[in-house]
Amino acid sequence: MDSNEKKQNYKKDFVVFQDVVKLYGSGDATVRAADGMSFSIDEGDFVVIVGPSGAGKTTALNILGGMDTLTSGHVLVDGEDIGQYKGKRLTQYRRDEIGFVFQFYNLVQNLNALENVELASQICKDTMNAREVLREVGLSDRLYNFPAQLSGGEQQRVAIARALAKNPKLLLCDEPTGALDYQTGKAILKLLQDTCRQKKITVFVITHNSAIAPMAHKVIHIKNGKVDKIKENAFPVKADILEW
């Protein structure tokens, strides 16, 4: 699939950060986790965020995902300034538009794979069939296994399936391969990239691993709470041919 062709149908500047500032703590202990971040992402982009530990990557993603509020600045998603959202409105934004994938899967231990996915889909209106999604992530024969009965990669697939089942506009992944071995990590990245390509979902992936950068449409380098540089790849590399 040609990326230029894609871009004609997809919205431009789907996600926009304008001078986003996030302060933690107060007084002497104030930490500027985000110190005036600005960038713009088009719909359907596969975005990789890299940067040293403590740079503010998670902060940026959490603000984008409605898990955290910003101190100042604007975050526009599909034209809406979600940075102004609070309380229930913010929850609703998470509920309807965001899919999250974390390093530590965060599955509900009490629910089996299928139920974990259904857990997400039951609260959204326009959802995908849970079995279908699980099949897509390659877990059709592990539907009734509990998280503890699945490997790390499988658990992360369930987490991705759970995020996808909601049919989100944004899929936000915070170091999704951090706890996985190389092969598994690669498979997960491929899954994410494929998802991005096939489902018109804008995907953000935080990683320490700059070797992943070639996969992305855009690579955002963050340093000290600021966007250091943004690199665009006209032709992102497919995950399965990537080596690191």
Partner: protein, 995 residues
């Protein structure tokens, strides 16, 4: 070690919620245990202080013939007696304003049974009185009111009191009469003492003391209600019996005998006097009769004189008449020959005889007549004289005869008097012969109803105090178990690090042990201080309703109970802590450094039933799996909530059971409305009068006669004092007393000559069943076997029911029906019927069942306090477990909850997800609590039950409802509090790490 030490306090600060959980539950358990357990000794101690302060008597002596100064002296002389004082008391009907009340007048002996002046002052003269405070409050009386004595029952007012009007100058309380509602029964008025009046001794007109109060040497130093005290007093009582009683009784008897003898002597003297009178009168008669005889003799003599005179008169007349004949012859000649002037010869003589001669001769004859005429005249005079004398004498005779009549009458009268006196003498002699020695009754404080009640109240509270802390202690153990499990698993990595650094298992474990120990010890101390300082005060103060004079509460922290409770708590919590940590501590350092693999979700049983399972949402599914997964927590919460429910149920149930006792006893079983005790020594006519009244008064539907007495029944298991009831006609019994089987309430148990019916609790205590036998004490030496024909439902006291025939067979005499059970009409004025009945001479006392039921209401008030205490504890229990559950759940499942939030669950949905579990446990807890509560209630009732009463075992439906609602309310309140904690979960932070 230093590092661990410092960390210890940081840990506590970080997990303050958990620390407080353990602290609270331990405080609750220990406080409850120590508090309630010490209430018993505290109440006793409080009672003791109060009794000592008022110098409440240790012994009370009453005698059938009253008591005298001599008796007081004799008792006071004993070494074992510290003080003895005579006292007066008597019941009257007094009027204050428009209302009449039964008032008990009491003298105020010095230094014993002191009354406490609560208002005004003590009376200073015999026309002043103080009234007891509760009466003054109930009747809204004030100082200055006037009390007028209307009646003193069977005796004259003047025989009891010197005055009929008293001015109220103050109010008082007395430890002898602590109860506001029960001051005693009386034989006057409606039979219930309403108020007490304290007056100086000289207000009484009685000749002898009605009672002697004595305090026993050294008894003040002992605490009352203890064995030591009882033994001391009992020993003193024995000494009085051994050394004083007989002397005093003999003295009193001798005195009475002398008095009786004096009376007899007096009568005998009277008799003598009368007899003398009779003798005198008889003498008079004799004299008079003699006099009459003499007089009659005189009359006869006089009459003889008269007849003699008459005869003389006749003779003289005859002489006169003879001479007259001669004179007549002369006259004839004189007449015939008057013309001639002579009498021719031949006629008389042969010569002529001149008339003159004739005349002369005739005159001689006439003259000769004169002496005779004089004699006659003389005799007539004599006769008249005699006649007069006779009349005189006859008058004398009549007078004498009248005298005799009078004397006879006098004699008759005197004989009547004599007969009377002889009767009196007989009576007096009989009275003297029948004269019995007075009987002394020595009673101790146990004769004071409130003294006993108070002790029983204390005991009841204490018994309950043994049962409940079990729940708290169990929950305390479960709370510590879950809390410490959580602590240990949170600090897994840290433990691993410490182990890797070479710390020993024990030194690491010590940290957790110290943590738990600190919470437990602090909880124990705070709990026992608050518990044993507060609970007794609360409970004792609550008893103010029943005992208004109860004041100063003595509440030392009772070390025994505190240490016991603390020991139990520490033991349980430590066991839980060790159990919670040993597995983790046993693992090697490397394993501990790796994150603990999350507890696997597991299929629960319900999943095997797809039909049900598929109908559950995620909330449901997750809830069920969670319940199964976190068993400790589940059981802790379940136990806590069900404990809370059970406590409430026990509280309400206790109230139900207690109120049902009187409702069942007097509403269902003893359906008669009043009982009348008859005076068996009343005359038949009086008895008949009473029966007529009962038959005719339209306030009375019917009555049944029976004999009631107290007897001793025994079996190898137990000896009991029970009532023996012998209804006159067992056929009519069901109208008044229902004898029915507990299991089959419809069927009446027939009372026949085949055996006796006994009440259920008695059967239980004697351990007998229908068909068995038990022993009845006939007199001090003889026991007879009785066959149990049936066992009847009953709640208050114990009863044996038997037919007159059985009674006669056993006792060898007919029953004497000393009691009447009345079935009265609806809505009558009980007070007026009572007074009317008491006006009957054959009626001794009247007791309405409604009065007993009222008394029960007082008992219920004391149960209310227990309910309140249980309510607070139940709340505390529910709070601790639900708080702890939520606290741990939220801490442990923070990530899960954050995940839900990240997924876009609204706060309400997240809350519902978590609370599902709480709600389910609450519901389950309520269910389990019902069962637990029923058992606990049974247990409490069986423990708290006194021998004389059988509690009703059922709990009412509404009590279940109230308990369930309250438990749910506790749960809801605490969960609402936790909602805010849920809301505050920091999403970003929770998702960041792997715990």
């Amino acid at each position: 070690m230093k590092a661990i030490h410092k960390e210890f306090y940081v840990d506590i600060r970080k997990t303050i919620g958990r620390f407080i959980s353990i602290f609270l539950i331990v405080a609750l358990g220990v406080g409850f245990y120590a508090g309630i357990r010490s209430t018993e000794p505290d109440m006793r101690l409080t009672g003791d202080h109060m009794y000592d302060a008022s110098d409440l008597m240790d012994l009370r002596i009453i005698s059938t013939l009253g008591l005298e100064a001599f008796d007081v002296e004799k008792i006071a002389e004993l070494d074992c007696i510290e003080k003895a004082a005579g006292a007066y008391s008597g019941d009257v009907i007094g009027q204050i304003g428009d209302n009449e009340h039964v008032i008990r007048f009491l003298s105020m002996p010095d230094g014993i049974n002191e009354v406490t002046v609560t208002d005004g002052r003590k009376p200073e003269n015999s026309a002043e009185c103080m009234l007891d405070r509760s009466f003054m409050e109930q009747q809204e009386l004030k100082i200055g009111d006037k009390l007028e004595i209307v009646s003193a029952g069977n005796r004259e007012i003047g025989d009891l009191l010197t005055n009929t009007e008293y001015t109220v100058v103050g109010s008082f309380t007395s430890t002898q009469y602590m109860s506001a509602s029960t001051k005693g029964t009386s034989t006057v008025g409606d039979g219930k003492v309403a108020g007490l009046a304290a007056v100086p001794e000289d207000a009484f007109a009685l000749e002898v003391y009605t009672e002697i109060y004595a305090s026993v040497s050294g008894a003040k130093e002992e605490t009352c209600y203890t064995d030591a005290y009882d033994e001391l007093v009992e020993a003193a009582a024995d000494e009085i019996r051994d050394k004083v009683q007989d002397v005093c009784i003999q003295a009193r008897y001798d005195e009475m005998y002398q008095a009786a003898s004096d009376v007899i002597d007096e009568i005998v003297a009277g008799e003598k006097e009368v007899e003398n009178g009779i003798a005198d009168a008889n003498q008079v008669i004799v004299d008079l009769k003699k006099q009459i005889q003499t007089a009659e003799k005189g009359i006869r003599k006089l009459e003889d004189g008269i007849s003699e005179a008459e005869a003389g008169k006749k003779q003289a007349q005859a002489a006169i008449d003879e001479i007259q004949g001669t004179v007549d012859v002369y006259d004839r000649y004189i007449e015939r020959f008057s013309d001639l002037g002579y009498v021719p010869a031949g006629q008389l003589t042969n010569r002529d005889v001149p008339l003159e001669q004739l005349e002369t001769e005739k005159q001689q004859y006439v003259t000769a007549q004169a002496p005779y005429k004089g004699t006659i005249e003389q005799l007539d005079k004599t006769i008249a004289d005699c006649r007069r004398q006779i009349a005189e004498i006859e008058e004398q005779i009549a007078k004498a005869e009248a005298g005799i009549q009078t004397a006879n009458e006098e004699i008759a009268k005197a004989e009547d008097t004599l007969k009377d006196l002889q009767l009196k003498e007989g009576d007096a002699r009989a009275a003297r012969d029948e004269l019995e020695s007075p009987v002394w009754y020595l009673t101790d404080r146990n004769s004071i109803q409130t003294y006993l009640d108070y002790d029983q109240d204390a005991e009841r509270i204490s018994r309950i105090g043994i049962v409940f802390p079990v729940i708290f202690f169990l929950v305390a153990m479960l709370v510590s178990l879950t809390t410490m499990t959580r602590m240990v698993s949170e600090q897994r990595t840290q433990i691993g690090t410490l182990k890797a650094l070479g710390y020993s298992k024990f030194s690491i474990a010590l940290k957790y042990i110290r943590y738990a120990l600190l919470a437990t010890v602090l909880g124990s101390i705070v709990g026992s201080i608050i518990g044993s300082k507060l609970l007794p005060v609360v409970i004792v103060n609550a008893y103010h309703i029943l005992y208004p004079s109860l004041s100063h509460v003595v509440t030392p922290v009772n070390l025994t109970y505190t240490l016991t409770a603390m020991g139990i708590a520490i033991g349980l919590v430590l066991a839980a802590t060790v159990f919670a940590s040993y597995r983790t501590l046993a693992a090697n350092a490397a394993a501990l450094m790796r994150p603990e693999s999350p507890k696997a979700g597991k299929k629960v049983l319900l999943e095997r039933i797809p039909f049900l399972w598929n109908h559950l949402g995620f909330y449901g599914k997750s809830t069920y799996r969670n319940l199964v997964r976190y068993k400790k927590r589940f059981f802790m919460t379940l136990f806590g909530v069900s404990g809370s429910m059970a406590l409430l149920l026990v509280g309400f149930g206790l109230k139900d059971s207690t109120s049902e006792i009187s409702d069942q006893q007097y509403g269902e079983l003893h359906t008669y409305n009043a009982s009348v005790v008859m005076n068996l020594s009343a005359s038949d006519a009086r008895m008949e009068e009473a029966r007529t009244f009962l038959n005719e008064d339209n306030r009375i539907n019917g009555y049944m006669e029976m004999q009631e007495g107290t007897v001793t029944a025994s079996s190898p298991a137990k000896e009991l004092t029970v009532y023996l009831e012998v209804p006159k006609e067992s056929g009519g019994l069901p109208q008044y007393i229902k004898l029915r089987d507990r299991a089959d309430k419809e069927a009446d148990l027939p009372l026949t000559d085949d055996g006796v019916i006994i009440t259920d609790k008695m059967a239980r205590l004697l351990d007998v069943q229908a068909g068995d036998t038990f022993l009845l004490e006939i007199n001090e030496t003889e026991q007879k076997e009785l066959k149990v024909a049936g066992i009847a439902e009953n709640y208050i006291y114990h009863y044996i029911y038997m037919t007159p025939a059985v009674y006669e067979e056993i006792y060898g005499k007919k029953p004497e029906y000393n009691k009447m059970l009345l079935d009265t009409a609806e809505g009558i004025e009980e007070d007026s019927l009572t007074s009317d009945l008491l006006n009957l001479k054959a009626v001794n006392s009247v007791l309405f069942n409604s009065y007993i039921q009222d008394k029960f209401q007082d008992v219920l008030k004391s149960i209310d306090i227990i309910v309140l205490v249980l309510l607070i504890s139940a709340g505390g229990l529910a709070f601790v477990v639900i708080y702890n559950l939520n606290n741990i759940n939220i801490a442990e499942r923070k990530r899960e909850l954050a995940t839900l939030k990240v997924l876009g669950f609204y706060d309400a949905e997240v809350t519902r997800y978590v609370y599902r579990e709480n709600i389910l446990i609450t519901i389950l807890g309520i269910g389990v609590g019902c069962v637990l509560g029923i058992f606990l209630h049974q247990f409490v009732i069986q423990t708290a039950e006194i021998d004389l009463i059988r509690f009703y075992k059922q709990i009412r439906g509404v009590s279940f409802l109230y308990s369930a609602l309250l438990t749910a309310a506790f749960s809801i309140v605490i969960n609402i509090g936790m909602y805010f904690k849920l809301k505050k979960i920091d999403l970003a932070a929770s998702m960041k790490s792997i715990e």
